[in-house]
Symmetry: C2
């Protein structure tokens, strides 16, 4: 009986992962949204001199607020209510960046890991796992002869795909510089946004394909796959190599292996930042392939700076071909605070001068996932109508 | 031109995620495996008093080794070579646990996040993404009427599944207490192990289904799905509820939606710790469903301590049924240091007394993923032969 009791105790300890954070008598709740909507962050750090908090809702880049130590060594900070949204934050423990060990929600943004929480309300519902039918998210390796790599991508198939014979349209959704194939599924919340929009009838059921836009990479850096030799990122941005592989490798793979409508009016492509550049290259070189384009947080920038070309004449010719192809939607989204705002303005001016119809959505923010989730949520309902 | 240069600089800064860790002149390499196989860990922490390192290769639980500060504020520690393996580690910055911000490899173990690295060699090849055909990993939501939840699981389909008409066998692979549906895909490296074993012909192509074994949960805690009301974990361990849902919900879902051989000789089930208990319950209650069983790091324990039953007579009856069903393999794996070692010994004694044939593999270690990856690597080749 004693042996069994010991096993039980050891097992329970193992299960509870007793470590430094659990030296206190009860688990630490962090972050805690109070009844008055204020939010309290906590960290038990009796041996630290300072603990600071950085959150992506704070004005200014890199702002750090002091957390206050109580007599048990618990550092704490309560902030005023902030709007419904998905937020990321970090602690700085005597200057070293750390995730919140009491919060299981961690998201990776390129090479950084940050803690995450949602403030309840409209956005949390739109970006959350709610009580609606869910799609399936597949991690798929596909051959890219264009890049000489076997590469990883995500394919989202909507709820009901498995039980239906209906062919679906496909949305190719591209990430930004510093990101990878994970980005739209983690910070971008694409599977949740699509689940929620499709369930409410706001978006049509569609397949969403999320590739790795860095042509030198087989997969995200944490996957541990080998990189292509002699290719660098982000130097390859604007090289056109990724766009070539999307057209030659990804689209044929998807159209062979998924139940899709393989035609122009049932293909959409959109991307943020670097993915916006890639989308613009596709509008120029392959207007025959897509009827829906979305350029998020990007515009008319001299691509020679990114290892690409500075080719206004060719791009003008591209626009003539694009116009002739009569796309159903050319959508631009940019934030007022975005550092590419002027580039997006220049793009609109160029399109206006060339009497090319587009839709424009301006938000208040900057070059952030807060804006890109809004753009996805507003663009997806306009596709395949 | 100036504007474009500014945009370029800002973009590059954004891409490189300039933060505290990059105040130094070059990126910090950590961990770095030296030419002599020694491993150096580094953290830039000029304002910290102490930085300590805990790694899962260290003897004793919770050992922390001091890292040494140089005059720039870089803390460093070099350890002697350790065998080829996948390792996890954490820093303790003035007592606060932190992941290594210079290492993009982070794995979640229940509620904890830890940094990860591989020491090159045989194990790193077996557990790594190598140059072989890769299977697809699907995150699938399925209805569980047994548990009143829509639940998340992973389904691994091997390379070639998509292009073949062949029906495949199915391996149901269960995690332990404190884990969830992610565990075998992250710490367990199941997709990589299966890719590598199948490519070398050591294991037969098979589908691997990795569910969430906590009957009160719809999904891992970081998914943000609602829990079932009135169910607790790990109190539900041994309740039989999960096993009921596996039989009634998961297996029918898999056999309806995947190209599988839906018969006893083409079903295997194995689990570690809590998943070992669940596997034992399945051998007792559903010997007609599986021909291959694997019990990892578990044995004969009085289940009343875990909210289950203490029912030796019924279990004996179960064994008679199991024997009559003539399973092709009953496999037991346990480490000499495992706290359930005596329980595994008791199970073997019980099976010996009842003249029931099994295979036993004893390893040197304890109740850890190091052992469970070995067990998966050695058990998978024995299945469906």
């Amino acid at each position: 009986m004693k042996k069994v009791t010991l096993i039980f105790l050891v097992l329970i300890c193992t299960l509870w992962h007793v470590d430094a954070q659990f030296r206190m008598s009860k688990p630490i709740l962090s972050p805690e949204i109070q009844p008055d909507q204020k939010i309290t962050f906590r960290l038990y750090a009796p041996d630290a001199k300072t603990v600071k908090l950085n959150g992506n809702w704070m004005p200014g880049w890199g702002t750090q607020l002091d957390m206050v130590r109580n007599d048990t060594g618990l550092f704490q900070l309560t902030i005023e209510p902030i709007p419904t949204e998905m937020y990321t934050y970090s602690y700085f423990v005597d200057g070293v960046k750390a995730i919140d060990p009491n919060n299981v929600q961690v998201v990776r943004d390129g090479v950084r890991n940050e803690s995450m929480f949602m403030v309840p309300g409209e956005k949390a519902v739109l970006y959350g796992v709610t009580d609606v039918p869910h799609g399936t998210l597949e991690k798929v390796w596909y051959p890219s002869s264009s890049l000489g790599l076997t590469r990883l991508m995500y394919v989202y198939t909507p709820a009901g795909y498995r039980d239906s014979k209906e062919k679906l349209p496909v949305f190719y959704l591209l990430h930004g510089g510093g990101g990878d194939e994970d980005a739209w599924t983690t910070l971008g919340r694409a599977p949740q946004i699509l689940d929620n929009l499709i369930a409410s009838g706001k978006a049509k059921p569609m397949i969403v394909v999320m590739t790795n836009g860095n042509p030198g990479e087989a997969a995200a850096p944490n996957v541990g796959a080998k990189k292509a030799e002699g290719q660098t990122n982000p130097g390859s941005m604007g090289s056109g190599k990724f766009e070539e592989s999307l057209v030659n490798d990804v689209i044929p793979f998807i159209e062979k292996n998924y139940r899709v409508m393989a035609n122009k009016d049932n293909r959409a492509v959109a991307g943020l930042s670097m993915g916006g550049i890639q989308t613009m290259y596709l509008t120029n070189n392959h207007p025959e392939l897509f009827s829906y384009f979305g350029v998020m947080s990007m515009g008319l920038v001299d691509m020679s700076r990114f290892g690409g070309k500075n080719d206004p004449e060719e791009r003008l010719k591209g626009l003539a071909k694009l116009k002739a192809s009569k796309p159903k939607l050319y959508w631009i989204g940019c934030g007022k605070q975005d550092f590419v705002y002027q580039g997006a303005t220049d793009l609109r001016k160029f399109l206006d001068e060339n009497k090319f119809t587009y839709e424009y959505r301006e938000t208040e923010g900057g070059h952030t996932w807060t804006e890109w989730r809004i753009y996805l949520s507003e663009l997806a309902p306009k596709l395949f109508r």
